[in-house]
């Protein structure tokens, strides 16, 4: 396992996309959090430290009005972790250097999850520094820890789902498309269909029935780890009661774990 991790470490360090993606995420975070912090600093109605930090750290995603953008950038590291192997014919070189497929896969999961989580942590730190620069109120320790863990966990799982998509499809382009479309387009379509059916039912405000599906939409559920108010709240009149941060994180974790288990099983069985 150590050898496989060493391989992954050198692999990540010696390819430009690692630096581009992390640099892009951090640059986006720096520019946007400085901009938002500046606007907050001149606002006539100052926000609480917790609220300010939530918005800065997630660049508005904590409001539920936007996706966690850094996760979409950093998530590509997961796609590339496996996608490059197939796109550039590296998989055979990799498996002749490390013939134990289990350790190769495990090392990719560990390295991708760790790098994604650390990159997310760096973005949170940038947000915190932006608040310091403009003299904004600091968040409570509780909120600081909760949101940081939530953001790191979501980003790591998001990247791991990208890794799994690439391993399942063995096609980097398809994996990128899945990573971008499933959380945004696919889940939105499912939500719209479910709500349409629910609103036309005999009990449109009941909490039972088909509306329960919505709380199991994996990326939406995982988003509860960093959202503090959400458009989903507006759907409560249709009986939609989402999971909290822990429950949502578990739903996303089970989904990503399932994807990884399936891709691992196929990785063991398929020809390289």
């Amino acid at each position: 396992m150590i050898d496989a991790l060493r391989y992954e470490f050198v692999r990540l360090r010696t390819i430009r996309s690692t630096y581009w993606l992390i640099g892009l995420a951090m640059s986006f975070q720096l520019v946007m959090s400085l901009l938002i912090a500046w606007r907050f600093s001149v606002a006539t109605h100052p926000r609480s430290g917790d609220d300010t930090f939530d918005i800065l750290a997630t660049i508005g995603a904590s409001t539920g009005l936007a996706p966690l953008f850094i996760a979409y950038i950093i998530g590509l590291l997961g796609v590339f972790s496996t996608g490059h192997e197939y796109r550039h014919g590296m998989i055979r070189a990799t498996l002749t250097a490390l013939p134990n497929r289990g350790t190769v896969f495990a090392a990719k999961v560990v390295s991708t999850g760790a790098v994604a989580a650390l990159a997310a942590l760096a973005c949170v730190v940038i947000a915190l520094l932006s608040a310091v620069v403009f003299g904004l109120d600091m968040p409570s320790t509780h909120e600081l820890v909760d949101l940081t863990i939530g953001t790191m966990a979501f980003t790591a799982m998001f990247a791991l789902s990208g890794l799994a998509y690439a391993a399942l499809t063995r096609n980097q382009t398809a994996a990128v498309a899945l990573l971008m479309l499933v959380p945004t387009v696919v889940e939105s379509i499912i939500r719209a269909i479910v709500l349409a059916i629910k609103s036309a039912s005999d009990d449109p405000q009941g909490t039972t029935g088909i509306v329960k599906i919505l709380k199991y939409l994996p990326y939406d559920a995982g988003g509860k780890m960093y959202t503090r108010a959400s458009l989903d709240d507006l759907l409560s009149f249709l009986g939609y009661v989402p999971f909290g941060p822990l429950g949502g994180g578990i739903v996303m974790g089970v989904f990503v774990g399932g994807l990884l288990a399936l891709s691992y099983a196929l990785f063991l069985r398929r020809d390289a």
């Binding site: 050898d3 470490f9 010696t14 550039h88 498996l95 002749t96 250097a97 013939p99 134990n100």
Partner: protein
Amino acid sequence: MALIEAHALGKTYGSNRAVDDLSFVVRPGSVTGFLGPNGSGKSTTMRLMLGLDRGDGRTTFDGKSFSELDHPMRHIGTLLEAKPFHPTRKARNHLRMLAAANRIPTSRVDEVIELVGLTSVSDGKPRKFSLGMGQRLGIAAALLGDPDTLILDEPSNGLDPQGITWLRNLLKHLAGEGRSVFVSSHLLQEMAVLADELVVIGRGRMLANGAVDDFISHSGLGAVEVLSPDAELLGPALDSLGATVSHDGATLVVRGATAEQIGDAAHAAGARLHQLVTRAATLEEAFLEATGLSEEFRGSAVDEGGRS
């Protein structure tokens, strides 16, 4: 020094049996050539040997399968396809990455880069590499762990004549050190001077396995050229040997009998011989004869006007 033993290798794609019950041995201290027409299953066989493709059979390297080897690049060096690297990762970094997985010192990376002649471009991105340069980088990766065994799939692809000569000398030198070298190639003339042993397959099945000289001498395309002023006496004698005789001008081209048999038959028949020359088949002729019915992909004939 590793003895490679492949036993009952097999692979099926859908209804197509790509590799069927292949067994052979590659001995240390020799270069074993792996020949077969396009699509005959050579690359698939090599991947099966290394556990990269799932199939039947087992290959051992001194008794251990590839996946059982600790730090396999130190035991088996492989080149399986052209340009198996990320196009923007520097050549040296590509090798450093492989070395890291097998605890090979970084100093060895520079050694193999120099050995394959890529020092001047080692910090360049391989996407700018020609096919030959890519092959050299692949060969460098195969040699990285200073392995006992080399398994190389078409290593001379894209190499210029100097490169082919360099590769031939390198592989002969490595085999001379007692290593096992298993190499596939379409360059039959090259294989004729490189290989000691041959494994010849067609449609995934074994066609021949053994020493190169034996493979060639068993070819029916070898002949004895006979020049005799007493052809009318010699003809019946050759018929009695069961030989087939064709005419090339005044020369009789005899197949199916040795020069000794022909000489004895001529003496018994009272026929004078002015010339008795054994002409061995070339490796190319022997290969084409052996694989003639086993070509997976066969082009249509082209007439003199270029029409097929």
